[in-house]
């Protein structure tokens, strides 16, 4: 559970740094409306194959299961990895989330898509998968935002990592 509190807590902390308290409540609201949708997604597409999985997943392939809601350049092709930002870039501390099914263990995981920021686009391994992606009025599941807005260095977007933050509720 701690994991989830971390996510929420990180949202809050980050937001507190950037916007007024009034906005925090408001935006958090905005986020959580979106986030509430996440647990529903697996039901919608748990049955569909999402590729990847297995012992040695190819982190540079758009089919890798944890990339199910990514929209951007894969950091694994840019000097980083599926979960690490490339040298000299700064991870956004607020993100959009997806719910992806890991073929290997049959579980659905909540994946946080952290944009890596502070340099121009990496330009390699463009990957756009929209499982559970929702419009801009649902920020926490909208991959059309440049989430570098949530980094110390601002919106210059380089690439995106896909971090597991927990298991999707049954």
């Amino acid at each position: 559970m701690a994991r989830y509190d971390d996510v929420v807590e990180r949202f809050t902390r980050r937001l507190a740094q950037t916007v007024s308290r009034r906005s925090v409540l408001r935006s958090l609201g905005g986020f959580l409306v979106g986030a509430a949708a996440v647990p529903l997604l697996p039901i919608a597409r748990g049955a569909r194959p999402v590729g990847g999985g297995g012992a040695a997943p190819d982190e540079t392939s758009c089919d890798y299961w944890r990339y199910c809601a990514v929209d951007g350049f894969l950091c694994a092709c840019c000097g980083g990895s599926a979960t690490a930002c490339p040298p000299g870039t700064e991870s956004a501390s607020i993100t959009w989330v997806g719910s992806c099914r890991n073929g290997a263990d049959g579980r659905n995981y909540i994946v946080s898509y952290n944009d890596c920021c502070g340099k121009s686009s990496c330009g390699r391994c463009m990957c756009n998968r929209n499982e559970g992606d929702r419009p801009l009025y649902q920020p926490s599941t909208a991959n059309d935002y440049n989430w570098c807005v949530g980094s110390k260095v601002g919106v210059p977007y380089h690439c995106t990592v896909s971090r597991i933050v927990g298991v999707a509720p049954k």
Binding site: L15, T18, V19, S20, S23, R26, S27, G29, G30, F31, V33, G34, A36, A37, L40, A44, R45, R48, I94, G118, K119, S120, S121, G123, N128, N130, E131, G132, D133, R134, P135, L136, Y137, Q138, P139, D144, Y145, N146, C148, V149, G150, V153, G154, V155, P156, Y157
Partner: protein
């Protein structure tokens, strides 16, 4: 070896050059020297189109290209900064309004957001208006900003992630202030001084501005869509007092601005039950287009599974709004399109682009015939702006 006096150094060469000139001698019937000139735009045509390009691989270098649909000729270009989300054309046609973001070191350093005004005839920069560095960095959509119907106020959606709208007075050319649109996104003008935003709870939130651009009233519609089960995309089109939105599944939902507030209208389907069986869905970056007078709605359609709402269209389906949305035509496409727009004149053109193809396709909007394909159009052609 040693240091040479430099002017001396080159004097022989200079002499040589002038000598060469003098030996040129008299010549007859030769081409005259060309003066140094800079073009200005011809008289505006309803068949012009602006192509906004976020240049996704080089986001610091946003561009907007102007093309003439009748000739396919490029007429001009604007450089529009980092993460460009698209320009707007005020009703009076005198200028072009562009929301721009810059960094002191290209992709790092201090961020500066401005609204730049360009002369619509010379494409020269008239001036820039400083605004808070909050402009939403999002994929380009025409709803990322808007102009009130009276042409007075320019509205920009902000996401920091606090959700607000920046109001700029185009008459006084000053930043007015910010309006909170909590839990809502984007900007859809509905009248001289009103706009609404789409909200995560399935409503729209309307703001009325006073004469100075400050919020005078706020209202929220009844819930008219389910953001979880079947969300509407942000890519709506304006139809007089109404905005038409399409859901992921393929329903159209009108939202009408009335004296007594916003009235969501009756849904109608873009696709029949049979067509949904075949997975036909709307999708793209700018997947709806409209010709108000001709009562025609155009929708980019593709066959795909759940959450393919950004997939390009392989066909354009045409609907008669005067006949309750009866489908009147299917225009098959040789290559898919992600954005379309239709001119508003009597002999309308339909323009189409795909964010992955550097070309502009021009169709007869009535027959659906492909008239021409223009090559070398930007890098990631994003959205289209027609009058």
């Amino acid at each position: 070896m040693g240091v040479f006096p430099l002017t001396t150094q080159h004097r022989p060469a200079v002499t040589g050059f002038l000598a060469a000139i003098l030996t040129a001698g008299p010549v007859a019937a030769q081409l005259k020297p060309d003066p140094m000139t800079t073009a200005t735009l011809p008289a505006p045509s309803p068949h012009w189109v602006w192509v906004n390009d976020i240049v996704f691989h080089h986001m610091a270098d946003g561009k907007a290209f102007l093309f003439d649909g009748d000739t396919g000729k490029m007429l001009g270009m604007l450089s529009t900064g980092f993460g460009f989300t698209g320009l707007k054309l005020p009703p009076d046609g005198s200028m072009i309004v562009s929301p721009e973001t810059y960094f002191s070191r290209g992709t790092r350093g201090t961020r500066t957001d401005v609204v730049t005004l360009y002369d619509a005839k010379t494409l020269n920069r008239i001036t820039e208006i400083g605004i808070p560095p909050k402009k939403a960095s999002q994929l380009p959509m025409n709803s990322a900003n808007g102009i009130t119907d009276d042409g007075r106020f320019f509205l920009i959606y902000n996401f920091t992630p606090a959700q607000t709208v920046t109001v700029v007075d185009l008459k006084t050319r000053k930043f007015v202030g910010e309006v909170d649109i909590p839990g809502c996104a984007e900007v859809y003008p509905t009248g001289p001084r009103t706009f609404f935003s789409l909200c995560g709870d399935g409503t729209v939130f309307q703001v009325t501005l006073d004469g100075t651009g400050k919020p005078a009233a706020r209202s929220r519609s009844a819930k008219f869509f389910d953001a979880l089960k079947d969300p509407v995309t942000e890519k709506g089109v304006r139809d007089g007092n109404s905005w038409l939105f399409a859901t992921f599944a393929g329903d159209v939902i009108p939202v009408e601005a009335t004296a007594s507030g916003l009235k969501p209208g009756t849904r109608w389907p873009l696709s029949s039950a049979a067509e949904r069986q075949q997975n036909w869905k709307p999708g793209g970056m700018q997947h709806l287009a409209i010709h108000g007078k001709h009562r025609r709605l155009y929708s980019l359609m593709h066959q795909g599974g759940v959450d393919t709402h950004k997939e390009g269209g392989t066909e354009i389906w045409v609907y008669d709004l005067a006949a309750g949305g009866k489908k009147v035509q299917r225009i098959p496409l040789v290559k898919p399109l992600t954005s379309i727009s239709v001119t508003s004149d009597a002999k309308p053109l339909l323009f189409g682009i795909h964010i992955g193809m550097q070309e502009l396709r021009v169709f007869d909007a009535e027959s659906g015939k492909l008239l021409r394909t223009v090559a070398e159009v930007g890098f990631t052609p994003s959205t289209l702006v027609t009058r």
